[in-house]
C-alpha cells in the first residue's frame, strides 16, 4: 500500500511537472518564474497541514498518554519541516527576480521563518530530553502552542502591511484572481505533495516506533 502510494505520487508529480513546464503558458507580468508558485504554495500548505496534525496528535497524546500519538506528532513535524523550508527557499528565489532581493523582514516572510524555526526547535527539544515521558509531555505542549505561528503566517498578509502578494486562491478571495487552469494545476500539485508527505510520515512513524523499541531493548540490555 505504502509503495503503491509512493509510486502514484511520483507519477502524479511527473505528470504535473510535464503540464506546468510544457503546457501552461507563462504568466503575463512575471514570465516563467511564476511556475515556482506551484511548489511554493503547495509546499507551504503541506507543511501547515503537517503542523496542524502536530497540534492534534500532541493534544491526543496529552489526553490519552498513548505513545502512538507522540510518535505520530514527531513524524508529522519532521516531515512538515522540509516542506516549510521548500516554501522559504522557493519564495526567496522568486523574490530575487520579482523584487530584486533575496530576503526582506516583511511580516509574511518573517513569520514563515519564525514558524519553521519553532518547529525545528520542537525537533531539537525532542533530541535534548533523554527521558521518554518528559520528552513526550514537553514536546506535546510545544506542539500545540507552536501552531499559533502557522496561523500568524497564514493571516499575516491580512493583518499587516506586507509586500508579499495577496491571496489568490478562490477559497480565500471568492474567485477572479487566478486563471482556473492555473488554480487547477495548483490543486493537482498540492494533492501530489500531500500524497508524498503521507508516505514520508508513514516511513518516519515506523522509524519512531523502532526508536522506541531500541530504547526498550537498551533498558533490557542494561538490566542484566
Amino acid at each position: 500500500m505504502l509503495y503503491a502510494l509512493l509510486i502514484a505520487s511520483a507519477l502524479y508529480l511527473s505528470r504535473n511537472i510535464y503540464i506546468l513546464m510544457l503546457q501552461l503558458p507563462d504568466e503575463l507580468a512575471q514570465g516563467p518564474i511564476y511556475r515556482i508558485f506551484y511548489f511554493h504554495l503547495p509546499g507551504y500548505l503541506t507543511g501547515a497541514a503537517c503542523f496542524l496534525l502536530t497540534g492534534v496528535f500532541s493534544a491526543l497524546y496529552l489526553r490519552t498518554r498513548n505513545w502512538k500519538w507522540d510518535s505520530l506528532a514527531a513524524a508529522v513535524t519532521e516531515v512538515g519541516l522540509p516542506f516549510a523550508i521548500m516554501n522559504l527557499i522557493t519564495g526567496m528565489i522568486w523574490g530575487r527576480i520579482i523584487w530584486g532581493i533575496w530576503w526582506t523582514w516583511d511580516p509574511r516572510l518573517s513569520t514563515a521563518l519564525l514558524s519553521a524555526a519553532i518547529y525545528a526547535g520542537y525537533l531539537m527539544l525532542r533530541r535534548a530530553i533523554p527521558d521518554a515521558t518528559e520528552r513526550a509531555k514537553n514536546s506535546a505542549v510545544l506542539g500545540i502552542f507552536a501552531f499559533a505561528s502557522v496561523i500568524l503566517t497564514y493571516k499575516s498578509n491580512e493583518w499587516f502591511r506586507t509586500q508579499h502578494p495577496a491571496p489568490v486562491l478562490s477559497i480565500r478571495t471568492g474567485g477572479g484572481t487566478i486563471d482556473p487552469a492555473m488554480e487547477m494545476m495548483l490543486g493537482h500539485n498540492l494533492l501530489a505533495l500531500a500524497m508524498l508527505a503521507t508516505v514520508l510520515v508513514a516511513i518516519r512513524w515506523n522509524q519512531e516506533e523502532r526508536r522506541r523499541e531500541i530504547e526498550s531493548l537498551r533498558r533490557e540490555a542494561l538490566a542484566y
Binding site: 518564474i33 509546499g43 522540509p82 523499541e213 531493548l217
Partner: protein, 53 residues
Amino acid sequence: MDQRNFEYMCYGLIAAWGVLMIYVATLIGRERRLKSEVETLKKLIEEKSRHEA
C-alpha cells in the same frame, strides 16, 4: 532578463526537489542505522542471556 527569469525558475524547481531529496536521503540513512542498532542490541541481549544461563 528572460534568460535570467528562466534560469531562476530552474533554480527554484531544483531547490524544491533538492530539499525533498535531502530529506529522503536522511530518512534512508536513519532507516539503515536503526535496523543495525536493533540487530546489535538483540544480539547483545541474546549473548548476555546465554552467558547467564
